[in-house]
Each structure stands twice: as C-alpha cells, then as structure tokens.
C-alpha cells in the first residue's frame, strides 16, 4: 500500500464525530486539532487566540469535556466525539448558553465567545445551579479582552435559568 503524503508529511486518515456527524479527512500527524476543525472541516466557529493553551478561545468538548484544541493534534481525536460552538445550537435554535449571551450582552467582538460557550455548556452539565462566585470561577480559565467579564458571569447564571426552565418544560 502506498502512503498518501502532503509535502514531507505522511497523511493519516482521521475519523471523528463532530457535533453528532461523522467526519473524516486525511491530515499530517502534526495538524493541530484546531486547524483540523477550522480548515479541514471548515468549522470556523472555533477560534485560535494564543496557540499555547492560555486564552481558551479554541475550547471544544471532547467526549463532553472541555479541551484546548490548539494543544491537541487531530490524530489524537481519532474515534472521539467532539462538540464545537456550532454544535451548541443554531441561530434559529440557540442553546441555553448562546441565548443567555445574547440576552445579557455577554460578548462584544465575539472572538473569545465560542470558547466560553463550550466551557460553560460543559460546566452547567455538571453544575446546573451555580452561585455567582461559582459562575465566575467556572469562566476563569478563559480570556476576554472586551467585556471585563461582568456580563459573562451574568450570562452563566442566566444560561442556568434557561437550561433548567427548558428541562422543566420537557418534563
């Protein structure tokens, strides 16, 4: 069998589930997961702010848990289940965190926002009724340069309300 190559790189087939849909692309071993999502799968909602794992803009959910996609290779995600901001809801059917951010002015330029939304989505799944202090702590691994975090903390609390209300309505 001949190997597929790109430049000097051997291409490795990567199959993952992204936002519930099976996806595959052949990429070099050094392809970052963030680049794979953004440029191979063209899911550009995941943003890259620092490429060293500090800012959190690239946060996606790997089997439901938040990870920094700039600190992982795509090949490390083979066979895993990924959720990006695009999988957290759509304009017509926003997820609770997305809706809360729009209601509470939780974003300005919006560049860091996808990382907050994925992070908070995972957090609320574990702790659906946070206090304000817990909400602040929950977002304290993500950088935002625009909002001063005031309305992001409010958005976490509002998202919990929306999430719990929707759960009530479904009962």
């Amino acid at each position: 069998m001949t190997e597929t190559t790109y430049g000097a790189d051997v291409l490795i087939p990567v199959q993952v589930t992204v936002n519930g849909v099976g996806c595959s692309a052949s990429v070099p071993a050094r392809r970052l997961l963030s680049d794979f999502l953004r440029h191979d799968l063209r899911l550009t909602g995941t943003h890259v702010g620092c490429e060293h794992g500090v800012c959190g803009a690239c946060t996606v959910l790997l089997d439901g848990r938040p990870v920094r996609s700039c600190l992982m290779f795509a090949v490390q995600a083979i066979g895993r289940d990924l959720t990006t901001v695009e999988g957290c809801g759509t304009i017509d059917a926003m997820g609770p965190v997305q809706q809360a951010f729009t209601e509470c002015h939780g974003l300005q330029c919006g560049f860091c926002t996808p990382g907050f939304i994925t992070t908070i989505t995972a957090y609320l799944a574990e702790n659906p009724t946070p206090s304000e202090e817990e909400a602040r702590e929950a977002v304290s691994g993500n950088l935002c340069r625009c909002t001063g975090y005031q309305n992001i903390v409010t958005s976490v609390l509002r998202a919990a309300e929306i999430m719990n209300r929707r759960a009530e309505e479904q009962r």
Binding site: R38, G49, V54, E86, Q98, H105, F111, N142, G148, Y149
Partner: protein
C-alpha cells in the same frame, strides 16, 4: 407611535450569528489561499550581513521567498509617516522588509509564502540570517542618556520635542505659597486583542483588481495605502474589514508591513495569499504603548488651588514613529482633566528605543496624563491635610464656564476647548456611590479586624469624536429593507445595532428592517476609521443626517402619490400615512418603487414604476433635474472640534499585610458620554475599559531585558486579567449632551480604562500610607516599597505621619 429606540438597551443584532459560530474573522476566510510566514529579527539592534535561503529552497510546499532587495518600486520604500507634525523633527519609519539594519526584535526580514502555514514556517526555520550586533537602546533612561543611538541621524534619540505653555508659569510658580515636585513613571503595555492582525488578498488577473480583507480599524486607510504602494488606481482596489476580534487601537496603525506585502505577493503569484498573525508575532511586531517618565512641579495656594503646573515627560516611542506623536500630544493636553490650573507648561521628548513601535492603545496617552494629574492632586491634598475630593473640586472647571478653552492645541490640531460636562455633579454622584464620606468609619472597622484598606479616586476628561469626518449612505429597497453603510470599522462595539437604532428612529421603520455595513470600501469609500472613541459621534451623526435626507425624499414622493401635504405625513413602523387618516397610506418600500422610474418591471411591486402605469406630466422628465433615481440619501458629519466626555472613578482596595497582595474590593464609575444610543452597549464598553485598566494597573507590563528581548511575549507571562482578577464594576451615568452634534453624543469607547491606574495608585497609597509613584505595581514591588518605607527611605504620607 413607535417606541423610541434611541436610548434603549436594545439587544445586539450581531449576536445570534456570533454566538453560533457564524462570525467570519480574518482567518476564517481564504481556506485555499497560500499562507505567509516571516523570518523576524531575533536581535534588537543589528546590521544584516547575509541572508542565506539555500537550505529552504527544497522545503515541501514552498512557493516563494522574498527579501528587501526583491521588493519592487514603492513596496521597497520606507513605510509612510501617517501623521507628520512640525515638532516631529526626526521621524523614522521602517521598511516592509528590513533593509540593512533591524531596530527591534520582531522586525520582519524575509517573507515566505507556502501552500500552508506549516510549510511556510518549515521554510522560515531553514533560512539563516547573519548579523553584526549594534548596541541596543532599551528603556527610557538609556534612551535619554543617549550613550548609544537607535538611529544614527536622530541625535539624543529624540524624535520629537514639544512645548506648550499657557500663562507665565515661572512667575506663577515663583509666587506660589506652596510647591511640590513629583517623579512618576508608567510602564509599557499593549492592546492585545484576542484576535491578532491578519491580511488576506485576492488578485483578479482578468479584471486587474485587488480585494483585501484586513483585520483593521481603517479599511479606507489600508485601501489607499496599498493602492499607492502597489501603484494601482484606487478604483482597482477594495478593502474590507470582516468581523474583527478586538482592536483597542493597535489596528488603526496602517499599513502594517504585512498589509503591503500580502497583496503584493497575491498579485505577483496570481493566487490568493493570507497571513494570520500568531500571538508571539503580535507581542513582538505589532505595537505597544504607555511607557513614560514624568516630572511634575506644581505651585498652589493654601486652599489647594493650582497656580502653576509645570510638567516634563519622556515618552518611549519605540523604534519608529509611523503614527507620529499623537500619543504624547494627547498626554500633554488631556493631562489637565477637569481642572483649570492658573498657568500650565508641558514639555515632552519622544524618544527612540530598540523596541516595538508605539501607537495608540485604548486611552492613547490619557491614562499617563491622568496618572500625572491625579497623583499631583493627591499630593496637594496630603500636603495641606485636605480631603482629596475637596481639593479636586476646588480646581474644577464649572458648568457655567463651558465652553472652556484651555488655550492649547489638541491632537487634531484644533483648540483644546471643552464643550460640556458637569464635574461637580459627577463628583457628587461618585462620592455617594462609593460612600466617600463614610470611608473613615469603614477603614476603622477594617483596621479593627486587622485589615488594611484604602480609597482611591481619579477624574478624567476625554476628547472624543475627532474629525475630519465620517459619512453614511442609506438606500431603501422596494421591499422596505434599509441598507446603511458607513465607512468606519467595527471591532465589537455593536455598530450593527446602535446605528440601526438611530436609523429606525429617524426613518420610522422597524429595527429589523435596517441592515448596517461598516468597513467595506465597496459600500462607502470615504471614511477615516475607528479610533478616539469616535464611531458613535462621527458615524452616528452622519447616519442620522443621511436618514433625514432619505426620510425627506420618501415623504416628498408619498405626498405626491397620496395627494397630501408633506407636513401632514408621518412614518410609523415603515408605513407612511396622513396623520389622522389611517387609510391614506403606503409602505415606505412603495416610495422606493416610485423613486425609480422603470422601463422594465422585475416584480409585482416594480410594475407601479413602469412607463405605462399611472399618470404623469408629459412636459417633465421622469427624473426631475434636481433629483436622482432611487430612495437614497448620503451625508457626512464633520465637526469643528472634538467633543469632550468625562468621568470619575473610585476604588476601595485591600492590601495583604504579609504578602502585599492587592485586592480591589469595590470599583465605582461615574461616566458622562452625553446622550447614549444604547446604554447596555455603553456600559459594556465601560466594563471592558475598566478591566483593561485593572490589567494595566496591577498585572500587565512588557518586560524587556537590556538586550531588547521581550521576556514575556506570551499569554502565560503577560498577565491579562481573568474573571477572577476583575472586580464587579458599579457604574452610574450622567448625561450632559454635547452641544456640538445633532444627537448630543460624546464618545464612550476608551473611557473605562483612562483613570484606572491613577485610581488604583491612589487607593494603594491611601492603604499603605506612603507615596505610590510608579505603575503598574505587583505584590513584590509593593512589598519592596514597604521595606524601603520601614528603612526610612520612603516618606510617610503626611496624613499618616500626623495620625501617628
């Protein structure tokens, strides 16, 4: 009657797209473009002796490598000096790719284009550059000593020297009953937007047309600069600012080397090319700000009134001065804040260093000026044993003195003349909000618990909305859709919402029918850019004026069609009707149909405008001599001067007696930006500004070593505050409308960050009982100050010394 949208906290129309991953930032475009990377200088000051690219030539995926000698025509010439000034006697700008010498770590030397960024960086790693080292000039003291020079032909490392004086300072100082001197310093910081810079260029070789997307604060500026460099007619170049992930000033600078080189390479290669700045590149090859040394001498009377204020400061402008001396000019003028010293002299030297260049960062020189002025106010109060707020109020310009002309020239070359503001009212609000008069009790209770707390205050005035102009073009489609275009750009300020609110009110149409485009030269080629808290003032008013023109045309057409007098018509929810006669009505879209006489009907609505429909006067042309087809309006707003916003902040801090950690317990803001289009957005701007101010006061600095290496060029080491470091911001507003513009708006974008360093210094000083003269301050630095204070090297504040 439609609910008034101007002034309402309307939810942002851009948000549903942005929260669902639908934003389109620079690197989200051009997936098939070639990508660029740069060899950047690892040395702060060196002569380039050789560039050897041979090892890189067989890099898989490589497309091309270029050095300075490959650059043709104007592409290879010095980058433009954007803002010349008579006092800027030794301006220097860099090259798109370094020629012969490098003057700071991070300066671009070699451009590499490859099939993707990975391959481009592979090639970069294989290119060898040889250097002869030159002595690096780092830090203001070194630059001032001028033992070594950054540019051999800029003696003393001085790019600019400027003096402004109002009144006879020497005489007033000599006659002043009391005098004080302060030595102050403030360190470098930077905008660091979450999205760095980026450029994507597409050359259409069939149409010989260039389209540039840049993460910029001025698409018209980039368009003009690139067209000039590439020798292209303006008509063949467009520039679009897509969604931009924050700017805060750094993206108003242009053209960046990459903004010239990427379009040039795209044309050369006949293939789209993209460059996306990485975080390290942003630290070492964009721009910084803030670094200044200041000497203040103040003469005052026994009541604390300033009779003479004499300020000298040294401003670190980095390696080049492409943006001129806007920042130190702003420091030198806006330093005065809400006060009216009897006489004032300010003298500054802008100095070259072998570090990243300096261009405006949110506040743009004002935080430094505010720091100097407010440290001075606190020192006067302490000297006289007076309340710090009282001393400030005794020096305030009063509302009845507006407009108040300081007799100085501002950053726009026009008089520094305040148009409005009620400083006593702002101070009263602030004192009430923070509990100023009850603080002694609060402190006593805290001290009883073994805690150390302090109260700080800072006041500022911000000239906003400087000219020359902005414009707006509005066109209403037959469907009733209202398209609004303004040329300045958006980096998160919510322009699609705030501008739509203005249009919806002016026209009487639903907010949902208004669509705003910013920063696209195809839609509005005349614009300046987004900086100096000017978007709402400049474009907001231009948009209002354009909307009024469109409304007048719609009313005129409807009056004819409905056979009614124009003054009897109103527009509500997009329907034009005769007041009191609800049946005599037509949708505003119908006036759009009628405004455009047609030969061909393209849909049902258009039939009404065709030549055999209805009646007409055969002696008149279908389009009157003084009319144009289409329901359109265009107008520009160009003010005679800036409008001056103001604010006052107070904070309560607690300092740990053992670790010297500094915690902000409360942060209070009174903010006056005139009338607010959307108070929710204004408050968000204040929040973000305060957070950046807190970063600048306590965490963020650029740590250069003596050889000019930036030691903390990452988010691991340059400490942007997280949610856990930013206090809850308590904000209240005062609205004194600007008399200068139709909407009464003053700018709001930068305000939040301006006084924070001054306020935190004031509060820490109040807590610790000794002067704070250098910011930012870390726990280690505060701990060292305590040691010096204990050793008697640092005096106690008088109010502490007398208190025992």
């Amino acid at each position: 009657m439609t609910t008034k949208l101007f002034g309402a906290p309307v939810q942002r129309r851009e948000d549903p797209r942005l929260v669902t991953g639908g934003g389109r930032y620079l690197d989200d475009l051009g997936h098939t473009a070639y990508e660029a990377a740069f060899v950047r200088s690892p040395h702060a000051h060196a002569r380039i002796t050789d560039i050897d690219v041979r090892d890189a030539l067989d890099t898989p995926g490589l497309i091309g490598i270029w050095t300075h000698e490959d650059l043709e025509g104007q592409v290879g010439e010095c980058l433009p000096l954007l803002i010349p000034h008579p006092a800027l006697t030794a301006p220097r700008t860099g090259y798109a790719l370094a020629k012969d010498t490098v003057n700071h770590v991070g300066e671009a030397i070699v451009l590499v284009v490859a099939e993707d960024r990975y391959a481009a960086e592979d090639a970069v790693a294989r290119i060898r550059v040889d250097y002869d080292f030159l002595p690096a000039v780092v830090g203001l003291e070194t630059a001032r000593a001028a033992t070594d020079l950054v540019h051999v032909d800029a003696p003393g490392n001085v790019s600019a020297h400027m003096v402004q004086e109002v009144g006879d300072v020497d005489a007033a100082m000599g006659g002043a009953p009391r005098r004080l001197k302060l030595d102050l310093s403030i360190e470098r910081s930077a905008c660091t937007p979450m999205e760095g810079k980026g450029v994507y260029a597409v050359w259409d070789s069939d149409a010989e047309r260039l389209t540039i997307w840049s993460s910029t604060q001025t698409s018209t500026g980039v368009r003009a600069a690139v067209a000039a460099r590439l020798g292209l007619p303006l008509a063949k170049v467009d520039c679009i600012a897509p969604d931009v992930g924050g700017g805060f000033g750094v993206k108003i600078m242009h053209p960046w080397p990459e903004e010239v080189l990427i379009p040039w390479a795209a044309r050369l290669l006949g293939h789209p090319v993209k460059w996306t700045e990485d975080r390290r590149e942003h630290f070492i090859s964009s721009a910084h700000e803030r670094g200044q040394l200041q000497e203040v001498e103040v003469g005052f009377d026994d009541e604390g009134r300033i009779l003479a204020l004499d300020v000298k400061f040294w401003h670190d402008n980095g390696a080049y001065t492409p943006y001129g001396i806007i920042v130190p000019i702003i420091t030198s003028t806006q330093l005065l804040g809400p006060y009216k010293p009897g006489t004032y002299r300010v003298e500054f030297w802008s100095l070259y260093t072998n570090t990243v260049l300096v261009t405006p960062y949110r506040g743009a020189g004002r935080p430094q000026g505010c720091f100097a002025m407010e440290r001075t106010m606190d020192a006067i109060a302490d000297e006289l044993g007076l309340d710090r707020a009282e001393v400030r109020s005794r020096n305030f310009i009063l509302p009845e003195e507006m407009p108040y002309d300081h007799g100085l020239m501002f950053q726009d070359g026009r008089p520094l003349k305040y148009d409005s503001g009620d400083f006593p009212a702002s101070l009263a609000k602030l004192k009430a909000l923070v509990g100023w008069d009850d603080f002694a009790d609060y402190r006593a209770r805290a001290e009883a618990e073994g805690r150390t707390v302090g109260l700080g205050i800072g006041c500022y005035v911000e000239g906003t909305g400087v000219g020359p102009y902005e414009g707006a073009h509005i066109v209403i489609e037959t469907s009733g859709r209202v398209n609004v275009a303004t040329g300045l750009t958006t980096q998160g300020q919510g322009h699609q919402t705030a501008f739509a609110q203005i249009v919806a009110d002016e026209l009487g149409v639903p907010l949902e029918s208004v669509y705003v485009t910013t920063g696209d030269t195809r839609r509005m080629p005349y614009a300046v850019g987004t900086f100096a808290s000017r978007a709402a003032v400049m474009s907001g008013n231009a948009i209002a004026l354009a909307a009024r023109a469109v409304r007048a045309k719609a009313i005129k057409i409807a009056a004819e069609a409905l056979e009614a007098a124009e003054e009897d018509l109103e527009i509500v929810d997009g329907i034009i009707s005769v007041k009191g006669m609800p049946d005599a009505r037509m949708p505003i879209g119908t006036t759009a149909v009628l405004s455009n006489p047609l030969r061909y009907a393209f849909d049902e609505a258009a039939k009404a405008a065709t030549q055999f429909a209805g009646t007409f006067d055969p002696d008149k042309p279908p389009v009157a001599d003084d009319e144009e087809p289409g329901l359109e309006g265009k107008d520009f707003y160009s003010p005679t001067q800036a409008t001056f916003a103001n604010g006052m902040h107070a904070a309560i801090v607690e300092t740990d007696p053992v670790t010297a950690e500094i915690r902000i317990l409360r942060y209070c803001v009174i903010h006056d930006c005139g009338t607010m289009v959307n108070p929710m957005i204004v408050e968000g701007q204040v929040h973000g500004g305060v957070a950046q101010g807190v970063g600048g006061a306590l965490y963020e600095r650029m740590v250069y070593d003596e050889s000019g290496q930036l030691l903390n060029a990452s988010f691991m080491d340059f400490l942007i505050p997280y949610a856990t470091e930013v206090p809850h911001v308590e904000a209240d507003h005062l609205e004194t409308p600007s008399p200068l513009n139709p909407l009464g708006i003053k700018g709001a974008g930068e305000a939040g960050c301006i006084p924070v360093t001054a306020v935190i210094a004031s509060a820490i000083e109040d807590a610790e009982g000794f002067p704070i003269t250098a910011m930012p301050i870390s726990p280690v630095e505060l701990w060292e100050l305590r040691q010096r204070h204990e050793r008697g090297e640092l005096p106690s504040l008088r109010r502490r010394a007398t208190a025992g």
